[in-house]
């Protein structure tokens, strides 16, 4: 098991490095970084000055290894815009995003899973039709629109929840709901399909022949098998959410990583962008590995020797 985890982590790290290299190249080759930092109306002189000042005049590979060497010792450089270490920025902004992501994931799980299971119990029954219509609707509604509607309804007309800022848990209710709902359809459908397949399988027939009651069969024998594909999707979904939802954070004025990414891209704040991309890649990798470990724990067949 330990070897399995180590293998996955080693694989993950190589992916993170590849992603970092790609970002580095994109940022430096797609446009002249000096011109971006200098701004639109800068003179050629000013650009040249910045080029020397920020070290853009040195060869690409030198700068890559310099950047790479410093992340190995935990130094991500200073933000051009905020004028402080980008790592501090990350630490400042991350808690909001983490709270939002975990809250949203809970909404996804609490709505998507039970609805998917219930729908699968009677395919084409009224509950199944309701669940599928709900899924389609949730998929069709854009996040910003749902956010705005909720703000009008529950923030303005019936002021139950605050609509901007991140100081209390109440501030997180609406954004978590909005962000969580968007992933419900995928989880719902996957749970439903998985469950229908599992309930029709030979081993569930065996469980019925063993004399277990329907609820016991559902929870003891079927659920674990049906959840296997859902776990990987949930890991990816959490990744998206931790990567910061620019729209949701903007609509609800949450100062999280999504906003930070948005701002630093606009401001050509290269060190911040680079650190964020590296961080998001790491998040995805760690989560996929966690998903795999969870799956291996759930399904003995995945524990490859």
């Amino acid at each position: 098991m330990l070897r399995f985890i180590l293998k996955r982590l080693a694989l993950g790290l190589s992916v993170a490095l590849t992603v970092s290299l790609a970002t580095f190249l994109l940022l430096n080759l797609a446009a002249d970084p000096a011109a971006m930092v200098a701004g639109e109306d800068a003179t050629q002189e000013a650009i040249e000055q910045i080029r020397v000042q920020y070290g853009f005049d040195r060869p690409l590979y030198v700068r890559f290894f310099e950047w790479f060497g410093s992340i190995l010792v935990g130094d991500f450089g200073d933000s051009y815009y905020w004028k402080k270490p980008v790592f501090e920025l990350l630490i400042e902004r991350a808690p909001v995003t983490i709270a939002l992501a975990l809250g949203a994931l809970s909404v996804t799980i609490l709505v998507g899973l039970p609805l998917g299971v219930l729908a699968a119990l009677k395919p084409n029954g009224w509950l199944d039709r309701f669940a599928l219509s709900f899924g389609t609707a949730a998929q069709a509604v854009p996040n910003f629109w749902l956010g705005l509607i909720l703000i009008i309804l529950l923030g303005v007309m019936f002021p139950i929840f605050p609509v901007s800022g991140d100081s209390t848990w109440k501030h997180f209710v609406l954004p978590c709901f909005v962000l969580g709902t968007s992933a419900v359809p995928q989880v719902l459908r996957l749970t439903r399909t998985g469950m229908i397949e599992v309930l029709g399988s030979d081993y569930i027939r065996t469980a019925r022949a063993k004399g277990f009651r329907p609820s016991q069969i559902l929870f003891r024998h079927a659920l674990r098998n049906a959840l296997l594909p859902v776990v990987s999707v949930l890991a990816i979904q959490l990744g998206y959410k931790l990567g910061g939802s620019v729209i949701t954070e903007t609509v609800f004025a949450l100062n999280g990583l999504g906003r930070l990414a948005y701002e630093s891209i606009l401001g050509a704040d290269i060190p911040t962008v680079q650190m964020l991309v590296f961080f998001f890649a790491l998040v995805f990798i760690v989560l996929t590995v966690l998903g795999d470990i969870l799956n291996a724990w759930l399904d003995p067949r995945m524990r490859v020797e």
Binding site: L11, D202, K210, G211, Q216, V304
Partner: protein, 671 residues
């Protein structure tokens, strides 16, 4: 004493999307403690539905009616769901066909066994564990205690079926229903599992219902037998009565269509039942067998028939008096056609081989995860073989022995890693697809997945001709229709799609497609194993007829020794990629030499009531081909194995005539 299980006039109507379908009508049988009832029938005969009705496991919306459906003191018709779930797995246990998928993949064997006893008997964990170990030992599993923490995927099919049996015994059931318990297993394992079931039944005085399509299985283990056809029992009685003096024309036909070693002249025609098993969606009127019956009368078509007693002790469902039915029918045309034909007399074998493999080897690199180096798997190991014109060479072995890889190499679909395959004296891998496919064609096992569902029958058969641009479209259609007629397909099927055809008809399409280019060699990979017994005989007869008429040469890949004796002229027995014995068909059956060949021959279960199941002493299960045992690969399972067998792989040595064998013990004349 009243019987343990009493089923009288059971009818089951299933609710399908297209409407209702009566899958079982007026089925009656009883089973006593310590007694075995065999229910035999082809697909769609309603045998599994009857058993599911007893278990109360039919889908919602199913209508179950019966004059009586009683188990012990419980009326199963009126029992509540709660009462039923207390019987299931406790008093009535069920064993299913698919050991590979019938155990939950995510839980350990131990958990799946113990939960059954904890659930029904409120047993403590320790009690249940002790019982599980005891039962695993009883079903012949070694190191039982350590098996409890294993998962199903870590066990072979045979072991899983043993675990399934042990699990179902946890609560000491009174009745076990085994639905095709050995169908998915290799032949040598089948005998072991049947013996195990039989022994346990005697020891524990259980009532056993064994459901199978295989007359041989049912005949060997049952006391009583019920033959089902199209949802009805058409003949029932003691095994000896029904099998030795079958009354109903269907039972008679079914028994005649089974190739029995030693009783059928090689190459002779098998008795077969014309026509197809009817769909249960048919609105039946009169006798359900009437359209396939050779003794059909006007009365058969009009009146439905009740089960009635013959004085011979069995009951049967036919309008004719049993004395008439038991008198031999007037000899018919097909017997004349089959007689007088002997191998070698009509087709002269030529000395030069048509197709030959010379020290051919096929090694696959099997990857075992991203970071470990792939391991070599020798699917076929140093195999030489000549196929001469007019021969029928059978390659026999269990799953994993490399017989299908061999077939692919001989078809030119798989290049040998070492050695070479030559066709008409030329290296087959140097030939173009077009050249090769004119000479060698193939028929596969599964007629359901080997035909393109989006093309019509005509298009499927015509396709090879179109690819070779043979003649104009109308000429091609002519040829196709001719060949369709030849293989027994009505011409008007030309525009039908495969899903409108039955399994047997689809296999005829596959045969027609293989023959349309007039090849010299046809490789038949398990051509009949997916078909019903009565249809199997039709296809075998067709293959033999075509061989005579078109001077074909067959390479037959199969696990079924009975089929081999019937049609092969030469037999190659394979074990783990190597040839262990090769001989003409007569020698293989008259004087088999290799211990493995002997075991395979012993595993053929002919419908021989009272003969019991032969015990096959093959230790351990079939080894993993990726990690074969050293020396003679068969040694861990061989009762004659000595030191030399572990140390050195035996070579194929010539014995007498056409017979060669790879065995140290045979060479030393120990065996």
């Amino acid at each position: 004493m009243q019987p343990l299980l009493e089923v009288q006039d059971l009818s089951v109507t299933l609710k399908l999307a297209e409407g209702e379908m009566t899958a079982v009508r007026d089925v009656s049988f009883t089973v006593n403690r310590g007694e075995t009832l065999g229910i035999v029938g082809e697909s769609g005969s309603g045998k599994s539905v009857s058993s599911m009705a007893i278990m109360g496991l039919l889908p919602k919306g199913t209508r179950t009616q019966a004059a009586c459906l009683r188990f012990d003191d419980t009326d199963l018709l009126t029992a509540t769901e709660d009462q039923m779930s207390r019987l299931r797995g406790n008093k009535i246990a069920m064993i299913f066909q698919e050991p590979m998928t019938s155990l939950n993949p995510v839980y350990t064997i131990g958990r799946q066994m113990t939960e059954l006893m904890q659930h029904h008997k409120n047993a403590s964990k320790a009690e249940a564990r002790a019982r599980a170990i005891e039962l695993l030992e009883k079903v012949g599993i070694t190191a039982a205690a350590s098996r409890l923490s294993q998962y199903p995927h870590q066990l072979s099919g045979g072991l899983r079926q043993r675990v399934m049996i042990a699990m179902m015994l946890m609560n000491d059931p009174d009745l076990i229903i085994a639905d095709e318990p050995t169908t998915a297993l290799d032949v040598t394992i089948q005998a072991q599992i049947l013996n195990l079931l039989k022994d346990l039944q005697k020891e524990l005085n259980i009532a056993l219902i064994i459901i199978s399509h295989d007359m041989g299985v049912v005949a060997r283990v049952s006391d009583k037998i019920a033959v089902m056809y199209a949802g009805q029992v058409i003949e029932t009685g003691t095994v000896a009565n029904v099998l030795q003096n079958p009354v109903h024309p269907y039972t008679q036909g079914l028994l005649e269509s089974i190739p029995i070693p030693g009783q059928i002249e090689p190459g002779g025609e098998l008795g077969s039942i014309p026509g197809l098993v009817p769909s249960l969606k048919t609105r039946f009127k009169g006798c359900r067998f009437a359209n396939r019956c050779t003794r059909v009368q006007d009365a058969c078509i009009e009146e439905s028939v009740a089960l009635r007693d013959a004085l011979t002790g069995q009951a049967y469902r036919c309008v004719l008096p049993f004395q008439d039915l038991m008198a031999p029918a007037a000899p018919e045309g097909h017997e004349a056609a089959g007689s007088g034909h002997v191998y070698g007399s009509r087709i002269d074998m030529e000395a030069t081989p048509l197709l030959s493999a010379d020290a051919a080897e096929c090694v696959f690199q099997v990857s075992q995860g991203m970071f470990s180096a792939p391991k070599p798997l020798k699917a076929v190991d140093n195999l030489s073989l000549d196929l001469r014109k007019g021969e029928v060479v059978a390659v026999v072995g269990e799953s994993g022995c490399g017989k299908s890889t061999l077939a692919r190499m001989l078809l030119g679909l798989q290049d040998p890693t070492n050695g070479k395959v030559t066709l008409d004296g030329r290296d087959i891998s140097a030939m173009s697809n077009a050249e090769r496919s004119r000479k060698v064609q193939s028929i596969f096992q599964d007629p359901y997945s080997s035909l393109n569902p989006r093309r019509t029958i005509g298009e499927i058969i015509r396709r090879p001709m179109a690819l070779h641009a043979m003649g104009s479209a109308s000429e091609q259609q002519e040829v196709v229709e001719e060949i369709m007629e030849r293989v027994g397909l009505p011409r008007n099927f030309y525009h039908n799609y495969p899903n409108q055809l039955s399994g047997g008809q689809r296999q005829r399409v596959a045969i027609a497609r293989a023959l349309v280019l007039k090849p010299e060699i046809v490789v038949c990979d398990e051509p009949t194993s997916a078909l019903d017994v009565s249809v199997q005989a039709q296809i075998l007869n067709l293959l033999l007829e075509l061989r005579r008429e078109m001077r074909l040469t067959y390479l037959l890949i199969t696990h079924d020794m009975a089929v081999v004796e019937h049609i092969a002229t030469r037999v190659i027995v394979m074990y783990l990629g190597r040839v262990v014995e090769i001989a003409d068909a007569r020698s293989i059956f008259k004087s088999p030499k290799h211990p493995y060949t002997k075991a395979l021959l012993k595993s053929v279960l002919t419908p021989d009531p009272g003969a019991g199941v032969p015990s096959i002493e093959l230790g351990s299960s079939y080894p993993n081909p990726i990690d074969p045992p050293g020396g003679c690969t068969f040694h861990p399972r061989c009762e004659f194995a000595e030191e030399i067998c572990k140390a050195k792989a035996p070579l194929l040595e010539h014995l007498t005539g056409q017979q060669s064998c790879a065995c140290h013990m045979v060479a030393r004349e120990v065996v």
